[in-house]
Amino acid sequence: MTQTLSPWARHRALERDWGSPKGWRSLSAVNHTVMGKRFMLAALAFFLVGGILALLMRAQLASHDSAFLDSELYSQIFTMHGTLMMFLFAIPMLEGFAFYLLPKMLGARDLAYPRLGAYAWWCYLFGGSILLIAMLLGLAPNSGWFMYTPLAGSEYRPGINSDVWLIGITFAEISAVCGAVELVATILKVRAPGMGLNKLPVFAWYMLVTAGMILAGFPPLILGSILLELERSLGWPFFDVARGGDPILWQHLFWLFGHPEVYIIFLPAAGMVSTMVPVFAQRPLVGYVWVVNSVIAVGFLSFGLWVHHMFTVGIPQLGMAFFSAASMLVAVPTAIQFFAWLATLWSGTVKWGVPMLYLAGFLFVFVIGGLTGVMLALVPFNVQVHDTHFVVAHLHYVLTGGLIFPLLAACHYWLPHITGRMPSGRMGSVAFWFIFIGFNLAFLPMHLTGLFGMPRRIYTYVQDMGWDALNQASSLGAFIQAVGFAIFLLDVMLFSRNGPLAPRNPWKAGGLEWAMATPPPSYNIASQPQVMDREPLWATPALGAQMAAGRHWLAQPSPGHRQTLSVDVVTGTPSAVLHLPGPGWLPLYSALTTAGFFLCVLFKLYAVSLGFAGLTLVLFLFWTWQGVVSARRITARDEVRLPAHGQVAGAPGWWGMASALIADGALFASLVFGCWYLRLFAPGWPTSGWTPVPWSMSIALCAGFLFMGMSAGRAGLAAFHEQTGRARGWLAATVSVSLLLLAGIAVLAVGMPDPTSHASAAAMRVLSVYMGLHAGLASVMAAYVLRRSWDRRAGIALDLSILRLWLRYTAVSGIVGVALLMYFPGVAL
């Protein structure tokens, strides 16, 4: 059956189904190749703006008493430089690479949720644009990229500058979380047959851990941003000491995100290194299992380091010792990866090329950043150099070494894949030396400037401090580096259009992404390979030709359908055929209404913002409704027929919801942590004005949540036994109970003290809003599944399993919330 089409006919048939629209309709594209490129291009644009801002700063600091920039402008510039580089360049660029590469490396045709990827890109673009437009209007945030309170509070920053940061960054972070959900589901479920976890490309392991870290690490900052915006806009005093708040809570929430963020940036880049080093050494990566182990260990350990940014705020000695120990320990798994790379190079035959040059630069620069990191893990040294240029030098060695050099190597390495043309080796080498020398000239002296006592974030300094020569060297280095980047970009732009055509697999790599034509067709591969080895192309050099000839899975195009395989998580055994959506406008519309929501919040139009939130919800419901797939079984290969993905347990949709709930749970845990932190350490607690929640109300709410947790399971059981009426009955009951819960929580919230009076009242109001929101969404979701049960085109098993996850999470978080509301604020410890 699979041999009935010629390769060319198969290509045309697949291209018809998978191709993205052209012209202005390309805005509706959802294909992962397109979205990956868009992420990369937008991130590059933000990088260029951030780089120009860096040059402005260095121009200002090149000499003492400089009047090139004034204090306010300098504050805006260093805030925007950090914000652009950390939030709008680093993570989106890496997500762009992951979006583009992962399906190709995994032997799949697209990501698990193409529309979510498109929505993520639009959110990122709109969120970033809010910040850029504000900067052009002179309203850029000016409190540093960490937005410390009380400096960022309304008392010291009464304009909308801080609001722009809080709204814009939260919006962009939604994009990152959506991307993470997409990546987790894709890596676990959308792979080529036979690609068990033991054969997973090492980059996929890195991205799996990174995505998990984004899910757990971003919500604390999202929560912090919401709380700070509530304080600034509505006067709810979470960080105001006079009314029971504590500014240190912001630092905890920020660095709970901020330190994992460093590793969220480093790990994907290290994954690229682990992918490229074996290619240039022409041998498999040494210690694959140890590298995977160390990546997971780094992922966890990075969440135990955040307080080392706060050693000077008054943490007890024992607490600091825990974080100091963890900060030093994280060097061990990082070193394991280093030794694996060195051992791979040592035991292989190294081919030098421009990517390898950048990889060597990475190894040199990142080691220095890592060693100064261990120095900063030591409390006495940390206290000495806190907030000096030593820290600036350290973080740039870590981030430039850990991100920029691998990224530049990756650009050269995968450029032939993206454009089908080879970059120039000569221009690439010249660019490398400019960047390498310029970088070290800029940041090596900065260690000394810091040790000589120069604080960071000062816009000028006087002559007799002895910092002039070092600052001049740093500024010169920054401009040399900028010349290097300009040459690099010129190389990429010129040669991606006019360079020599790239041969198939120009670097002789072993990964599946090189088994396809370059630039890749919209469907990636004509048939999905049976993977037998960790480096499939090294084991079977003719694999690409076999795939193009349709000798593997899903070789028979199914007109009007975008199909790829879904596999068992551990073994990679095919379990279902995934039907993916084609181009559509819903992601753009949903992102526009989300943007409308955030802009209305920014301009304090709260009633209108609620309208936009409702509109977004309606669009999401339309979105999911379109995901109906046929229940028929599909021929995946010769005699093998597989069900559609909605018919099997553990479909990618289920994994998406599970991943989203990890992020939701991290947000809730951060909220509970925040409440407890204030309860224990903020002055003015417990509050005298608190009225405990009545017992009867608490019991009723808990009973409602318990029913909710149990009802979806009962509905699922009834549906499984084809007792349709009973299943619908349970769903209808779930809708009713959810609405009753929502009403009960609303009554409770109305009876609470004024949230502007004390942080306890504000915290309890936020808790009740969280519970109410979840109960409300539960009713909408249950009503949706109930309505869908009348749709005969597809079963509701997948919908029920997703609903069950949501309801059980809502039940658990709701009961914890009720317990907190009952016992928390008024009880004296």
């Binding site: 068990g196 182990n293 966890f300 007890p316 963890a326 798994p333 073994t571 018919q647």
Partner: protein, 132 residues
């Protein structure tokens, strides 16, 4: 013919993802250990508890040792699972078994690493005074 139908509910979910989650479990326990120690050393220093430094230290050491014992148990179990499975050599020829064996090896390394990390991060409890 491959049968793509699966069971519903937690059983099929655990069959699908359980071995992978087992790999992460040890560092999950380390995270709890870390949060418990950090949280407790802060809470025990509050005036309301009024614990003597010796009692505070004793409490923290007990918590730390309990986590170490749990991690040691996990390591012993994962080692046992590895040895038991590896003795069944015929299984290693199967494609599926190779993936499971990889995860079992990974679990042993992760358990050992988490135990070491928990021992190191908790060590300050022994040497540094609580509430200083």
């Amino acid at each position: 013919m491959i049968d793509g139908r699966g069971d519903r509910g937690w059983v099929s979910w655990w069959r699908d993802a359980g071995p992978l989650l087992r790999v992460f479990a040890a560092f999950g326990v380390w995270s709890l250990c870390f949060v418990s120690l950090y949280g407790l050393q802060a809470v025990l220093c509050l005036d309301a508890f009024a614990l003597s430094p010796a009692a505070g230290k004793a409490s923290l050491v007990i918590v730390w040792l309990a986590y170490l014992a749990l991690l040691l148990l996990m390591l012993l179990r994962s080692l046992g699972a590895l040895r038991k499975r590896q003795s069944r050599r015929y299984n290693s020829l199967l494609l599926d078994e190779a993936a499971h064996r990889f995860l079992r090896r990974l679990a042993v390394i992760m358990d050992a690493a988490a135990l070491t990390v928990a021992a190191m991060t908790g060590l300050p409890v022994v040497f540094i005074k609580t509430c200083a």
